[in-house]
């Protein structure tokens, strides 16, 4: 068994950031804990945060398990993470602006052309177009894991519409409500400014044709979508309308929404809809969710779409390998955050190595997400491994492999008391005129003992994430 980094205890001593909560956790009577836990669940249910698990059927009103033990970073730790995250978000945007323009990075031979231009996520419809401020990905979610005091790795980037930020905000709300004394005793940086910063980011990328206060809307696929709660929550917190495709229409050079007082011009669309559904005239003709003609308005500068169609080409698992290269190429800096070493089964040598070492690697589908279609070698049976071997041999381009990382653990409330469980982190970086990051993010925790898969669809839970000032 590898040695896992425990974020709270090091050599039997409590690490600095956790000093303020050690006593709290130790002194909490078991019955109070049970009480608080069910109080938290009631609060979540009342607020209505639930999520549907794809492919599992069952109730769409399932709650995501919330663990009350916070995950804590010191200001120093966070400072370094913040610089790394912002750096990466800037590089990813520079890459997008480049590959939809002259493609200098491809010309310079730093990234193979076919990975970019033959990528399914590459959107020919925006080639040659520069969105306002040159920004393609306005919300960059970067999934991080930790393996040591100073070792952070990026698992993947999310440049389209990363979800889960409502949990970050609600987890904090609920913790503050249940344990106010913790917040009096510790200087915990607030995250509640996120919706305002998000709105400011959208305002800053309003199209040139917009004069006056920009009209921002959140575009949702509808109330049957599993993330509908988040869509309505964000719209509400920003004080903007939550619209569906049928609420919008294109006329003249603008996009309008249907209101009780007649049409109102829309300037910025925060879409929580995938590219193919945005505009049936430009993408999938059978989509009923989008707005016919929207892309024409977009390309003529009548409306801004956040994130831009085609932003997905930067967060593809095949492109991921080259992100450190982007940082060097566009920013002339050394990457602060590390990539996980990745073998691409599409490459013959890599594939050979992967097939020989399946029992100790993590194998992922290039286009998969949500923890589905994934093999964790050390935790799998012989049969499962052989099944994956056959899959990889059949379609090597579809898979990548990474070493099994020794994910850090954070103390977590379990039935028997408190025990270490593996965690990851998704911070949400906003890119507009400024690049901003609220001090916090979504910590996901694998609640099953020994499990390394933190996805909510696979039995993962969430924690409040703190950044403590001055430790």
């Amino acid at each position: 068994m590898p040695e896992y980094f425990n974020e709270m205890y090091e050599n039997g001593k409590v690490r600095g950031p956790y000093a303020g909560i050690e006593g709290w956790a130790k002194d909490m009577p078991v019955d109070l804990r049970g009480l608080k836990q069910s109080e938290a669940e009631n609060l979540f249910r009342r607020i209505g945060i639930t999520f549907a698990v794809y492919g599992e059927g069952g109730s769409p009103d399932r709650l995501i398990p919330f663990d009350m033990f916070p995950r804590v970073f010191s200001a120093d730790e966070w400072g370094r993470l913040e610089r790394g995250i912002k750096q990466r978000a800037r590089a990813l945007n520079a890459f997008l602006a480049d590959v939809y323009d002259r493609g200098e990075i491809v010309r310079a031979g730093r990234i193979p052309a076919h990975l970019v231009y033959q990528n399914d996520a590459y959107e020919i419809a925006v080639a040659g177009f520069t969105p306002p401020q040159g920004i393609f990905s306005h919300i960059v979610g970067i999934d991080l894991v930790r393996t040591g005091p100073d070792e952070f790795y990026v698992l993947e980037d999310n440049c389209r519409t990363p979800s889960g930020v409502s949990y970050m905000l609600e987890n904090r709300e609920i913790m503050m409500r249940m344990f106010p004394q913790l917040f009096q005793g510790n200087r915990i940086a607030p995250v509640e400014t996120y919706p305002r910063q998000l709105k400011r980011t959208f305002d800053s990328v309003a199209p040139k044709k917009c004069d006056g206060e920009p009209c921002v809307v959140v575009l949702t696929p509808g109330h049957f979508n599993s993330a509908y709660y988040e869509h309505s929550f964000l719209a509400d917190m920003m004080g903007v309308e939550l619209v569906e495709g049928s609420d919008l229409f294109v006329e003249g050079e603008f996009c309008w929404m249907r209101t009780t007082e007649g049409p109102r011009k829309v300037d910025v669309i925060y879409r929580r809809l995938d590219d193919p559904f945005l505009d049936p005239l430009c993408f999938r003709p059978d989509s009923m969710l989008g707005v016919p003609g929207l892309m024409n308005v977009y390309r003529s500068g009548g409306v801004t779409i956040c994130s831009a169609p085609g932003a997905g080409v930067a967060d593809d698992k095949a492109i991921y390998t080259y992100v450190p290269e982007m940082v060097r190429f566009y920013l002339g800096e050394e990457p602060i955050l590390q990539n996980v070493p990745t073998w691409q089964c599409a490459k013959k040598d890599d594939c050979g190595y992967v097939l020989e070492n399946l029992h100790e690697l993590v194998v992922k589908e290039v286009h998969g997400s949500g923890g589905y279609g994934m093999l964790v070698g050390p935790k799998s049976t012989k049969d499962e491994i052989e099944l994956f071997r056959a899959k990889i041999e059949e379609n090597p381009e579809g898979y990548i492999a990474q070493p099994t990382l020794a994910l850090s653990t954070c103390p977590t409330f379990v039935e028997q008391g408190v025990a270490p469980r593996h965690v990851d982190l998704r911070p949400y970086c906003l890119v507009g005129q400024d690049v901003t990051l609220v001090p916090g993010g979504l910590t996901r925790v694998a609640l099953t003992e020994g499990s390394l898969v933190v996805n909510s669809s696979q039995g993962g839970g969430v924690k409040d994430t703190w950044v403590i000032a001055g430790v």
Binding site: V243, D247, M257, R258, T259, T260, E261, G262, P263
Partner: protein, 318 residues
């Protein structure tokens, strides 16, 4: 406000009110059915309820031609296959509310959500343990809860107006329908208006409206068809009278016109309906024939609904 949001708010309110109407209709039928059958005529109260609710064909397709008490109750209260059963209405109200959650206060949302949740629980109870009166009480209790939360906590913006329009419009529709039940039950023969049996049956209408005492305070003495028509159509003191309901719709149309700085064809149509009800007398109504009059009003209400839809809700407003 988004047209779709306004539409959801409006329909949430309409469905809540419709659930209440159906519970009241059931109550009228069950009390009328308790009467001894001495006068002949159309004595199938249960059938008349189906007719008044406009779902007789759907009922027959499922339960057969005979309107049996228990089946009608199932159809009108529990049956999710009937889109205007109380259960269906509560579910539809809750779905509309869920879509526009952020436009509602927590209190309103919780009241709507709870009504639907308790309906589900009620469905699981043994049927013999639920009387028709229980059904009406259940519906009335939850409607009052939602309405109270709405009036005391909602922001007085345009969304408030759309919800209220939904309530009052549905209420006008409902009062006209409940009154019309009487036509099917009793009025093959106009001369019967005023006879003893007639009075008893008319009183059940008041009972269903929870208005016996109010009626006694306002009119005193004998219950006559004339007084009841006056009370339920033309009296502003009666909260469910046609004129109160129509004025309720108009009040919110006028508020909206002030807020938006312009009236619409819906505003004018609302004014016309109220003006008509202001001018008409009980004599006019009885001369025209109660049923004919009520059908005409139902038509006007339908048209007003269509105008509200076209002017604000369907997204075609210019």
């Amino acid at each position: 406000m988004l047209s779709r949001t306004a539409n959801n708010l409006y329909w949430m309110a309409r469905f809540m009110e419709r659930a209440e109407t159906n519970a009241r209709l059931l109550e009228v039928a069950s009390r009328n059915a308790l009467l001894p059958d001495v006068h002949g005529g159309n004595r199938n109260e249960w059938d008349s309820v189906l007719q008044a609710s406009g779902t007789r064909d759907a009922y027959r397709a499922k339960f057969g031609d005979e309107a049996v008490a228990r089946n009608v109750e199932t159809h009108m209260f529990f049956d999710r296959d009937n889109p205007s059963s109380v259960a269906s209405c509560l579910h539809a109200a809750r779905e509309n509310a869920r879509i526009v959650r952020t436009a509602l206060t927590t209190q309103v949302w919780e009241a709507v959500n709870e009504a639907n949740a308790e309906m589900t629980q009620l469905t699981r109870l043994e049927r013999s343990r639920i009387s028709t009166s229980d059904m009406k009480d259940f519906a009335l209790k939850h409607m009052a809860h939602v309405r109270g939360a709405l009036v005391s906590t909602q922001l007085r913006n345009d969304g408030f107006d759309f919800m209220n329009m939904g309530y009052y419009l549905e209420r006008a529709d409902s009062t006209a329908r409940i009154l019309d039940v009487k036509y099917y039950v009793l009025l093959p023969n106009v001369s019967m208006v005023g006879s003893g049996l007639d009075n008893y049956q008319w009183r059940t209408v008041l009972h269903a409206m929870n208005a016996q005492r109010a009626f006694a305070w306002v009119y005193g003495g004998e219950v006559t068809a004339r007084k009841i028509v006056d009370f339920l159509v033309l009296n502003r003191q009666a909260p469910r009278s046609l004129i109160s309901s129509a004025e309720g719709v108009l009040e919110h149309l006028e508020r909206l016109a002030r807020l938006y700085g312009r009236g619409t064809t819906a505003t004018s149509r609302g004014r016309m309906l109220v003006a008509q009800l202001n001018e008409i007398t009980v004599e006019d109504i009885l001369e025209e024939g109660l049923h004919e009059f009520l059908q005409r009003v139902l038509g006007e209400v339908l048209n007003l609904g269509a105008e509200i839809n076209a002017s604000y809700l369907n997204g075609e407003a210019r």
